[in-house]
């Protein structure tokens, strides 16, 4: 177990290094510079700016320098969007907003998706099952911006009675402001979880131990939640890791639709502004977060089910 965790950590570090280098090279391949604006600065100013932030050096040197600083926990300073502000402090300010929306979305996705999946599996082949299947397939076919815009049309359109929730993010309005973004963000993972749970539950319900439980005369609720679900949850947990990533990245869109001042929106803006240190900082931060989450899920998976032998790749 300890060996496995160490191995995974090493892999995670390699991956983060890979992502860092890839991002750095890609970023430098994009034409344009952070200094472009309506007023084009003079040649001398440009040269001075480039020299100040070390952009005049060759790319490999810049990369090495960046990696060196990174090892000391220095993410650099923003070049354009919040000039000269430390990137790490920007990230630490924006991330909690994204994380809060994402966490709520994921929570409701799992809390609703898993029971719905159980229900569909239990009522297999009946109307409920067909209905849920249609809803869930529809759910995984709608990009989050479609869900978000449908919500906007419904809750901010002509009908006065439906204007309960604010359509633009405003933390001063309390919980209400989270309802629409979290719904939009969580809809896809909810449907996905429900589908996964359904197929896992169907497998699990066909097992012999369910027959035994039934033969013992247990009630349906107990069979489903105690015997079948516990075993069905294991494959569902595996999908949670990637779903954390999806929710965070899906956040880009939802954040821009609802004007949430989160990290995802900031990341997209930083690409458009060519604010190199911000791009690097946010990419490394999000990537590390996602990679570590995936790793954590894999390790939890092992703890949850001792039968799984992770050292063999866990396939």
């Amino acid at each position: 177990m300890g060996k496995y965790v160490i191995k995974r950590l090493c892999m995670a570090l390699v991956t983060i290094f890979f992502v860092t280098c890839l991002t750095f090279l890609l970023m430098n391949a994009v034409p344009g510079s952070p200094w472009l604006s309506e007023k084009t600065p003079s040649e001398a100013t440009l040269a001075a700016l480039n020299a100040k932030y070390g952009l005049d050096q060759p790319v490999p040197v810049q990369l090495l320098k960046y990696l060196q600083n990174l090892l000391h926990g220095d993410f650099g300073v923003s070049l354009k969007m919040q000039k000269n502000r430390d990137v790490l402090s920007i990230i630490l300010e924006m991330f909690p907003v994204s994380a809060k929306v994402g966490a709520i979305a994921l929570c409701w996705a799992v809390l609703v998706g898993v029971p719905l999946g159980c229900l569909a599996a239990f009522k297999r082949g009946r109307l409920t099952d067909s209905f849920l299947r249609v809803v869930c397939t529809l759910g995984i076919s709608m990009p989050s911006f479609v869900v978000a815009s449908i919500l906007l049309v419904v809750f901010a359109g002509g009908i006065q009675a439906l204007k309960i929730f604010p359509t633009l993010f405003d933390p001063s309005q309390g919980w209400k402001t989270y309802v629409l973004p979290c719904f939009a963000l969580g809809f896809y993972p909810m449907c996905y979880t429900a589908r996964q749970t359904r197929s896992a539950m169907l497998d699990s319900l066909n097992q012999e131990y369910i027959k035994t439980a039934r033969a013992k005369g247990l009630k349906n609720g107990r069979i489903i939640f105690k015997h079948a679900l516990r075993n069905a949850l294991i494959p569902v947990i595996t999908y949670l890791g990637p779903q954390v990533a999806f929710t965070l990245c899906g956040g880009f869109v939802v954040e821009s639709v609802f004007s949430i001042p989160g990290l995802g929106r900031y990341f997209v803006q930083s690409i458009q502004n060519r604010d190199y240190p911000v791009i690097m900082g946010t990419t490394i931060f999000l990537a590390s977060f996602i990679i570590l989450m995936n790793m954590a899920v894999d390790i939890l998976y092992k703890i949850a089910d001792p039968r799984i032998n992770l050292t063999k790749g866990g396939e």
Binding site: V19, V30, S141, P143, I290
Partner: protein, 450 residues
């Protein structure tokens, strides 16, 4: 020593070896060729069914998948043939046809409405001169004379009142008036100019889904958007197939150290957050490819310029990261298949590794390959719309369903259809690919064979 004859139990099912041993000693005269009637009588009990025929039979029974296939075919026609039928172009600004709704009122109805509005505003309010005359009469009755200042005041008041009446009433009342008059919305959008031309007997193609703020026909834009989405989906899936199948097959076939190294690479790419990197790759590649088209010559340049640098950068971004799943699936299959006897036989005959992979291993995991490729298409479309929505996908003026939805956000309450139509087409497209892929998986899965 006399040969010992085995005593056979009469009810034994064991085949008689003696007869078999003697079978080789038949002389050619013992055989005779089958007569024509015998040949005709020889009908196989059951028609031999090929793999694809069998899969198709099972797929055909799946109603949902067949409906999805129908929708896909319709969408393909819509996207690739549709623009030929509509006389507008996706970047054509139709003057005078800006902001059309996908419905119109016929000319007669419009005239009736105008007449009605004019009639309503006239009645109830007196004209200015009447009011002045009234006021003068009133003043004379009191024995005074109306000053010019008073007259000007009355005029000004009347003007304001009239303006209020017109401005306020016509806004609220046109809708109710239309209802009262029984004027109904007619399908498709026409501009005023086009309606007149149509009334004059000219053939005018309607703006079926209306137009956007520049007067561009939304139907055509949706068609082109669907075309972009489909080409991205299909090309990206093919690219993923190419890279994933090659990589997975080599990794699985070679095994050992090669496999170990290749799998480490896969693991690294697998845990890279795709969305982040695809976003960066797409942004980085687009200008590079644009420059390539502008400066280079040769067949590769022509190829790139035909498809457009935008689309190619999307394909590449997608292909570079999404092949991992495919390669894992193929590797798993190849690991199983390479233990089979026919592979050993092929190797004994001296076939090279490449030939074994191409001719023996890959054709045997075709089912998995087809299903995975088919399910890759919707996820590519999904990603493309996502990137376009964020403004890093296909760039203007070429429309994409995602970017059309972004453009529509600003006026979404007045022109909801601009947001709904592309979103709907996109969702239906992804939905039908998903459903068809699911059906295909059920049809091709050998475990489900009965």
């Amino acid at each position: 020593m006399a040969e010992k004859k085995m005593k056979r139990c009469p009810v034994s099912f064991q085949p008689d070896i003696e007869e078999m041993l003697n079978a080789g000693s038949l002389s050619p005269e013992d055989f005779e060729s089958a007569s024509q009637t015998e040949k005709e009588e020889f009908i196989p009990d059951r028609q031999s069914v090929s793999y694809w025929k069998d899969a198709w039979r099972r797929l055909r029974r799946n109603v949902v998948a067949m409906v999805a296939l129908g929708v896909i075919i319709f969408l393909v026609l819509f996207a690739f043939v549709g623009p030929l039928l509509v006389p507008y172009d996706y970047d054509q600004f139709n003057k005078g046809a800006e902001n059309l709704h996908p419905y119109h009122y016929s000319l007669e109805d419009q005239q009736r409405l105008e007449a009605e509005v004019a009639a309503r505003t006239q009645t109830g309010t007196k004209s200015v001169d009447e009011m002045i005359a009234e006021a003068q009469a009133e003043a004379e009755a009191k024995g005074e004379k109306l000053s010019t200042v008073d007259i000007a005041k009355i005029r000004a008041q009347a003007k304001v009142a009239q303006q209020n009446a017109q401005g306020g009433e016509s806004e609220v009342d046109t809708e109710t008036l239309r209802k009262e008059l029984g004027i109904k919305k007619k399908l498709f959008g026409y501009s005023a100019d086009e309606l007149e031309r149509k009334a004059a007997g000219e053939q005018v193609f309607p703006h079926v889904f209306g137009t956007d703020m520049y007067g561009r026909d939304i139907l055509v834009r949706v068609m082109y958007g669907a075309r972009v989405s489909m080409s991205v989906g299909i090309c990206a899936a093919l690219l993923v197939l190419l890279i994933g199948a090659t990589y997975g097959a080599i990794s699985g076939y070679c095994g050992g150290k090669v496999d170990a190294v290749m799998q480490r690479i896969v693991e690294i790419i697998y845990s890279v957050p795709e969305m982040l990197v695809v976003l960066l790759i797409a942004t980085a590649l687009k200008p590079i490819l644009t420059e390539f088209v502008n400066t280079q010559t040769g067949p590769l340049r022509d190829f790139v310029s035909v498809l457009g640098p935008n689309l190619i950068s999307l394909f590449i971004a997608f292909g570079m990261l999404y092949w991992v799943t495919m390669s894992r699936i193929i590797r798993g299959q190849v690991l199983q298949l390479k233990q089979q006897e026919y592979v050993t036989a092929a190797r004994a005959l001296g076939a090279s590794g490449g030939r074994i992979i191409r001719r023996h291993l890959l054709p045997n995991c075709i089912g998995q390959i087809v299903v995975t490729t088919c399910l890759q298409i919707p996820s590519a479309i999904f990603l493309e719309s996502f990137l376009s929505y964020l403004g890093v996908g296909v760039s203007a003026p070429l429309p994409s369903l995602g970017s059309m939805a972004t453009d529509a956000l600003s006026g979404m309450y007045t022109y909801t259809y601009r947001l709904i139509i592309p979103s709907l087409v996109l969702s239906i497209m992804i939905l039908s690919f998903n459903l068809f892929g699911d059906g295909l998986r059920d049809a091709l899965d050998p475990k489900l064979k009965k």
